[in-house]
């Protein structure tokens, strides 16, 4: 397949802070440097974009030296934490802003869907907005006319098509907007988080449409989302960004695994100290770790082995009653299970001040292989009161080493599924 997008040393610098009288002297200085044919003096001192650390310079590189090729027909997911540069990359690709250095070469038309409903005018009817929005996205009038029925049909708001869109519900608005964009005849489609809106049925429809676009019609899709599940289903490849740098570009599952484990900084053992301790005045979190049967901290488990997760916490006020909960997610962001203490004797007794440790046991032959991310919470179930919740507290791996004592038995092929328990089978002749 030919390359349709080629980025070379793509970089983008942003200026931090307010733009005011202070910036004009700097602008003049930059202008003077350019006139003399010198390098921009303020870009030299730009630094890596890490928003948590206060830097010396007020120029940051939101993207720094990105190099990648995207092939025709690929669906590429772009993932990374907030501020990693995902949106900046999409903005450059969709030509909303220009790069500071480097270049991107593109073959074919690009349509971007950075926010659905761009350019919708509230006073105009749904029909008028389809034309207007289509034209903004680069369609010719004849093209929109030809696809009009299809667009209305896909949006499912046919009944309201002559009503001003200001009377639409937000769901209808998004449906209509996505429908227009999805029918663009562009070779490259750029999508940013549209699926965060709309109901489940429509989200499924959108994903399906995007899937058709990339796999069926051979068009290229770039997709930014925090929904790992959607990225996993839709994208064959993924780009991982961290602080403006490209840290990985490979098959989606590999990148997602890498992202969740390395980028969240989640490990098998995690302790909280200093200022940012999850908790309130009653109880606070000290430590969470995952371990084997002998309480030895462990990061990798055989699929047949028993896994324990222990929470250590401190009660600061005596007399309160609470329970502890755990949420497990797989690397695609699917919530595998939630569990809280409903069996122990201590769960209904008021606690005294002091430190405690609670362990949850996951049986062997239960989780499927892959990375598991666990979040913890301490709360009172009735009346419901949440003392704290810490998402993505720890992560661990479950390995399948083709052990015949696991649920796979002697079968050695691919084995999908969120959980992999050994279940009982009965066979009798009838």
């Amino acid at each position: 397949m030919p390359t349709v997008i080629k980025a070379e040393n793509l970089s983008k610098a942003y200026q931090l802070g307010e733009i005011g009288t202070g910036t004009i002297s700097r602008d003049l200085e930059r202008f003077w440097a350019r006139v003399r044919g010198k390098e921009d003096p303020f870009l030299k001192i730009g630094e890596e974009n890490d928003r948590s650390i206060k830097g010396k310079s007020d120029v940051v590189w939101s993207l720094k030296d990105l190099n990648f090729d995207i092939e025709q027909g690929d669906a590429v997911g772009i993932i990374g934490r907030n501020g990693a540069g995902k949106s900046t990359l999409l903005k450059i690709l969709s030509r909303v802003t220009a790069p500071t250095a480097g270049s991107v070469k593109v073959k074919g038309r690009i349509a971007s869907l950075l926010e659905v409903g761009t350019g919708f005018h509230p006073e105009l009817s749904g029909k008028e907005n389809i034309y207007l929005n289509g034209a903004i996205l680069g369609m010719r009038k004849a093209e929109i006319k030809r696809k009009f029925d299809e667009i209305v049909d896909f949006s499912g708001v046919g009944r309201y098509i002559d009503t001003p869109v200001k009377r639409y519900s937000s769901g209808m608005y998004v449906r209509l907007a996505f429908a227009v964009a999805a029918h663009l005849e562009s070779e490259i489609l750029i999508v940013d988080e549209v699926l965060a809106v709309g109901d489940a049925e429509f989200q499924k429809k959108c994903l399906g449409k995007m899937n058709d676009v990339s796999k069926g019609e051979g068009r290229t899709v770039l997709f930014v989302s925090h929904n790992m599940d959607a990225i996993m289903r839709l994208c064959s490849h993924a780009i991982l960004l961290k602080n403006g740098c490209l840290t990985g570009y490979s098959q989606t599952d590999k990148i997602i695994d890498h992202y969740l484990r390395a980028d969240f900084g989640t490990t098998a053992i995690r302790k909280w100290e200093g200022k940012h301790i999850p908790g309130d005045g009653t109880v606070r979190l000290l430590e969470v770790f995952v371990h084997d049967e002998s309480f030895k901290p462990e990061e990798n488990f055989e699929i047949t082995g028993k896994i324990g997760i222990t929470i250590k916490y401190e009660v600061l006020k005596s007399g309160c009653v609470f329970t502890h909960g755990m949420n497990l997610f797989n690397s695609q962001g699917v919530n595998i299970l939630n569990s809280h203490d409903v069996t122990s004797a201590s769960r209904k007794q008021p606690r005294k001040i002091g430190k405690y440790s609670s362990t949850m046991w996951i049986p062997g032959n239960f989780l499927s292989e892959g990375t598991v991310i666990a979040g913890v919470a301490i709360f009172n179930p009735e009346p419901f009161y949440l003392h704290f919740q810490e998402a993505d507290a720890i992560a661990f791996n479950v390995f399948d080493n083709l052990n015949p004592e696991s649920a796979r038995g002697n079968y050695v092929g691919g084995f999908p599924g969120i959980v992999r328990p050994i279940l009982q089978w009965n066979t009798s002749s009838i």
Binding site: L93, S94, V96, A98, R109, I136
Partner: protein, 287 residues
């Protein structure tokens, strides 16, 4: 399929562009958008109003009445021996078109920031759509002017239209180009520093007094021979004077002064497009 050859790329996104690349081909592709934006402006203007497009009449009519009262009667400024309301309405109609184009174009980047921040299309489409939308408004106001002209002509007033009215399309084009060019320059300069937009608000008003809207050029020439160049070389002056001459038979203009206006206007428009195209590439970072 083979690996793409380097020269096969359709779009190349780089930090700098050739300043002489006016992107007119891109603009042509988006011509339908221009039409739809004009339609949107027009339709949304009178949605949920009772008088609708009638509002286009009311503003020039009232302004004319007030000008007639203050400048015509109170200040007693001569009007080239024309009926006063007709004289003022000619000036107001043309000046309005120019100043509407200028003020609306000058805020293109700031008012459309949310749209421009999401999707690419040639930004030039928006100022162009403003100029065309205002044309509709101008057309309606022209009807008012022609009606008033007919009224005074029937009354036997001193009104003598001549063949110079054929210059009208040229004058219109010059006004549009001038408003567009100046507006784009201002809009490009205000993306980062907003100071200029404050200047523009009263600058337009001051400029109106340097243009022959409320007085004829002949009057300035007679009264202030040393300063009359200030008014004469204002590009809008020769446009308004030519307009008055063509439709009403009174006005001071030569083909040379009109040619000078055309030259200045073309230079301003080209400068406007170049600056505008340059700024549109990254304005979203600083707006």
């Amino acid at each position: 399929m083979n690996e793409a050859l380097p020269d096969e790329w359709d779009i190349e996104l780089t930090p700098e562009n050739n300043i002489l690349d006016l992107k007119l081909r891109d603009l042509w592709h988006y011509r339908d958008l221009l039409v739809l934006l004009v339609r949107r402006d027009f339709v949304s203007f009178y949605k949920q109003t009772i008088l609708g497009p009638l509002w286009f009449f009311i503003q020039p009519l009232f302004t004319t009445i007030i000008y007639t009262f203050i400048f015509g009667n109170l200040a007693d400024i001569p009007v080239d021996h024309l009926p006063q309301p007709l004289f003022y309405l000619a000036g107001i109609t043309t000046w309005n078109y120019f100043s509407d184009c200028l003020t609306k174009t000058s805020t293109v980047f700031t008012t459309n920031a949310s749209l421009f921040g999401k999707v690419y299309f040639p930004r030039l489409i928006v100022p162009l759509s403003i100029v065309v939308s205002n044309l509709i408004r101008f057309g309606i106001q022209m009807v008012l002017f022609l009606l008033m002209m007919a009224f005074y002509a029937l009354k036997g007033a001193n009104v003598h239209p001549n063949l110079f009215w054929l210059l009208f399309p040229v004058l219109l084009l010059l006004m549009a180009m001038l408003g567009l060019g100046l507006g784009m320059i201002v809009s490009a300069l205000t993306t980062k520093y907003r100071d200029l937009s404050f200047l523009l608000a009263f600058g337009i008003q001051l400029m109106m007094y340097l243009t022959t809207v409320i007085y004829p050029l002949s009057y300035v020439k007679a009264k202030y021979p040393h300063y009359q160049w200030l008014v004469e070389y204002n590009p809008m002056t020769s446009i308004i004077e030519a307009f008055r001459f063509g439709f009403l038979g009174r006005g001071t203009f030569t083909m040379v002064s009109l040619a000078v206006t055309a030259t200045i206007t073309t230079v301003i428009l080209l400068a406007g497009i170049i600056i505008f195209n340059r700024v549109e590439r990254t304005f979203i970072d600083t707006v």
